[in-house]
């Protein structure tokens, strides 16, 4: 089977030759493995490890497109900048990480309506047509399953006003949150229509949403249904109408939200963060006949670099989760540089061996 056929079937839980394989890495990991001579120069990780998926993130949903990020403070390790949403964020320069939310121009509905909402129009400049075209072409050449990827509405809102204001507003000004959700959902849908009409449809859709903390989601299932679900349904409806399966990423413990996500039309859940309390085997037992999974392999086991422990992790999960054909091998977040190249190589090879039908 080609990767396109394999992942297409996995997302629909139809028979395949083996489970899929895909991964996310910290930037430092690639650098370390390259410096150790494990990765041939110029060979992407997708090719090196034979990944089945390829993603492209072509949309820019920042408020003011023409705003040049303004650097407020810079140290050897961090940079503090105001962005086109009016948010002041501190980012780490040495590794990929969620930025620190320092301040926001938007603190309420009036701020949103003045500083961000009027600028969120389906401007063609929000779409990187060329990147999408090139990634789509490359994926086709390699026969990899090609996904449009981007952020969902939850991840659109908090960079504008911060998690705390966004979450409190769900109680104090629900109409504002619903307006933000609707605005971002419609913008995403409009941009998708433009891009896909001109450049062709991808094989699937991958939304990033981080809706969980350790041991609990930020919001209840009822709040998900009231606030977030309408924003998921709008773009997913376009995908569903065109037969595209939808993958939803979420860090943190989001198990209570899974029924709501499935109602929204999500076909596959990624990344199933074990350290936050997510349990791949339990999820598979509860939803495996209706939902596919990517991830759920405890990365803490990988960075022990202990093959016996990695074997236990793989052998304890893959034989079960390969049932229903809906599984793609992936860590439960991303691979840090504590994981030795040989450990990861073993993880992929042994995982696919166990995952062959």
């Amino acid at each position: 089977m080609t990767s396109i056929e394999r992942i297409g079937n996995i997302l629909r839980r139809k028979p395949v030759d083996r489970i899929g394989v895909f991964e996310h890495f910290w930037g430092d990991t690639h650098k370390k493995w390259s410096s150790e001579g494990h990765l041939p120069e110029g060979v992407p990780l997708e090719d090196h490890f034979g990944f089945d998926l390829q993603l492209c993130w072509p949309f820019n949903l920042v408020g003011k497109l023409d705003f040049q990020p303004e650097t407020i403070e810079e140290t050897e390790e961090t940079i503090l900048q105001r962005d086109g949403n009016g948010a002041v964020l501190r980012r780490h320069k040495l590794h990929d990480s969620t930025p620190e939310h320092v301040d926001f121009l938007v603190k309420d509905r009036a701020g949103w309506e003045e500083h961000v909402k009027p600028f969120l129009t389906p401007d063609r400049r929000r779409i990187n047509f060329e990147a999408y075209r090139e990634a789509k072409k490359l994926a086709a050449e390699k026969q990899r399953f090609f996904c449009w990827s981007g952020v969902g509405v939850f991840e659109c809102m908090h960079p504008v006003c911060g998690h705390q204001e966004m979450l409190m507003a769900m109680l104090t000004d629900p109409g504002w949150v619903k307006d933000m959700v609707n605005t971002y959902a419609q913008l995403t849908a409009d941009l998708m229509e433009i891009l896909f009409a001109e450049e062709g449809w991808p094989d699937g859709i991958w939304f990033y949403e981080d809706m969980g903390l350790k041991g609990r989601p930020f919001i209840s299932l009822d709040m998900y249904r009231e606030f977030i679900q309408p924003g998921h349904r709008t773009p997913i409806a376009i995908c569903a109408a065109n037969g595209l399966p939808v993958i939803m990423h979420s860090c943190g413990y989001v198990e209570p939200l899974v029924p709501g996500m499935m109602e929204s039309g999500v076909d596959c859940l990624q990344v199933i963060e074990v350290k936050a309390g997510m349990d791949l085997l339990r999820l598979h037992a509860d939803y495996g006949d209706r939902l596919s999974f990517i991830g759920g392999m405890d990365v803490r086991v990988l960075y022990t670099n202990d093959r016996a422990a990695i074997e236990r992790e793989l052998a304890g999960k893959i034989p079960e989760v390969k049932r229903h054909y809906g599984y793609v091998l992936h860590s439960d977040h991303s691979i840090p540089d504590q994981v030795e190249y040989e450990s990861y190589r073993y993880f992929v090879e042994r995982g696919l061996e166990l995952g062959t039908y």
Binding site: R91, S97, H163, L167, M170, L213, M223, P336, D337
Partner: protein
Amino acid sequence: MADLLEQIAVCIERGKVNANSSYPPDMKGQEGADELVKKALADGIAPDDVLSKGLVVGMGRVGQKFSENKVFVPDLLMAAKAMSAGMAHLKPYFESGQAHHKGVFVIGTVQGDLHDIGKNLVAMVVEGGGWKVIDLGVDVSPEKFLSAVQENPGAAVGLSALLTTTMVNMEKTVKLVKETVPGTKVIVGGAPLTAEFANKIGADGYSPDPQGAIAFLSA
């Protein structure tokens, strides 16, 4: 007196900040933590009672519900906002020594890590539990934690980390603080952590949620 303190507790539990706040809808138009704490102090209720029998009781209730997944982050944030409105009136009493914190809790996200949501939630709940919280922010060096402990003798320390890559800095901080100021209690928390890891690096406690931090500090 008991009625007024219970009303304050209910305001914290329900996230009723002041008379102008429209949340929660069923308490619209009623006085909130802001007005009721002011009234309690004006009525001569001891500041320590306002704190321990009103504010802390309310925060304890919402913290417990949060631990049990009966309420979620938005509810906890609103409770903390109401708590903050009430605590503002107690500030002069803390400064004059007429009101007393249960202790001092120094908290921060360890060096290399910029995540703050979990740390902020713990800080809010611990403050609502009656402790003076010194929030050092994110990306905090071991030396900065140590300075805060030295400036606040007897303070307990809370270390947060979300990244597996920054957990190593947690160990460095625990080691420096405990070697320099023996007897300092240190609790750790964050997505990648476990009680086993906490034990391994020499921390005194681990909690997956804010209420666990309260239990640790109260022990």
